[in-house]
Symmetry: C2
Subunit: 228 residues, 2 copies
């Protein structure tokens, strides 16, 4: 062990380090159902992001502007856009470079992990399904062309599984059922409230947030099991 | 929704915001065993911290210096000290104000959540029980009087439960068994690998890291169940 005199060991964490905490590259892992017959399952960690309404897009990026396609997401028709915004929380704390996912929606919505919410100055944010925004906190959103004061729409997305009606039949579940997702490995755990979301075009796909992915060490395991 | 022209909406996240991400106040919650007969269980989120050896203390704070008592921890004889250090990760990223917990140990050890490890520039750190440090990564530690190059000792602490031999008998477990810990609530989940650590003086007490606490919304729930 080396010893050196250090007068004033004060360090600072640079901006890029902060960004990395919560914008880890989406992780994708495969698992199979308990019976071995169920289809391939992709489990992904969703980093914080935003969905934007037509009305708010007009304010943030200019009237009539469209989201710029950047890359496809796993669910058909969904994409990451090139557009980002800054959101402002209590006591003027900011999160910059918040990615907007397309296509546009009826109501704007910001999805954060709990860690993000703490960073932004919230003491808590509600765990909700996408689109279930009534009574959720708001935030100020800053775009290149204007500012939107979102009255509600800030949520921690509940862990959920997208699936087709055929997948649902295989698993024996219906819309809004809760399933369990077991993640193996050294930090293994079982998510007990995985909401079932069925749509004709959906691919079998679990979305969790970065807190959940970090807690279970999603990057470390190939042992994944979705069951009723 | 208000609209205002904003020329250059660039924000920065200040240092204190970063600190809050990972230094949330330790959370304490009570739960009972499945049978209702088991003793009161305290579940705590451990923020990142360090344990220091006598040898490293000499280098970091000066020969013969002692840790300064700040407050008791739940486990008898353990305490938070007033001393803090800065640790340096890959690519010279820093975490400052890392608290040292006392008493001193045979070997220095740094316990981080996975989020902390990412922030520090590590791609991963191993999940280990305290003291099981062989083959773990090292880090540079900066104290007011000197610098220690720790060759190994950086871990993500495996979730574990401290208990007395009497508690162990009640639960029907022995040293190094794994138990399950179910956390209810909207982000409810079950930790499947809770290591049993039995010692005569231990109080019944689960320690998880901040990633695990944030993932399960430990602050939101009173529904906690520890079982075999």
């Amino acid at each position: 062990m080396a010893s050196t005199a250090v007068a004033n060991p004060v360090g600072s964490i640079d901006r890029s380090a902060v960004e990395r905490i919560v914008r880890q590259v989406a992780l994708e892992y495969l698992g199979r159902g308990k019976d071995g017959k169920t289809p391939e399952l992709v489990v992904q960690a969703s980093s914080r992001h935003m969905h934007v309404s037509r009305e708010d897009m007009d304010v943030l990026f200019g009237p009539g502007t469209e989201l710029t396609y950047d890359r496809d997401l796993y669910q058909p028709g969904n994409f990451a856009s090139k557009e980002t915004v800054t959101i402002v929380g209590p006591r003027n704390r900011l999160i910059s470079n918040l990615r907007i996912l397309g296509p546009m929606r009826k109501q704007s919505q910001v999805e954060l992990a709990f860690t993000d919410a703490i960073m932004l100055g919230f003491k808590d944010i509600p765990v909700r399904l996408s689109g279930d925004l009534k009574g959720t906190p708001g935030t100020v959103i800053i775009g290149p062309k204007g500012v939107v004061e979102l009255k509600e729409g800030l949520i921690r997305a509940a862990i959920h599984v997208h699936m087709s009606p055929a997948d649902a039949e295989l698993y024996g579940v219906v819309q809004s059922d809760r399933m369990k997702l077991r993640i193996g490995g050294p930090a293994g755990l079982t998510f007990n409230n995985v909401y079932v979301r069925i749509a004709p075009t959906s691919r079998l796909n679990v979305h969790m947030d970065t807190d959940e992915a970090n807690a279970c060490g999603l990057h470390l395991t190939k042992e994944i099991e979705l069951f009723k």
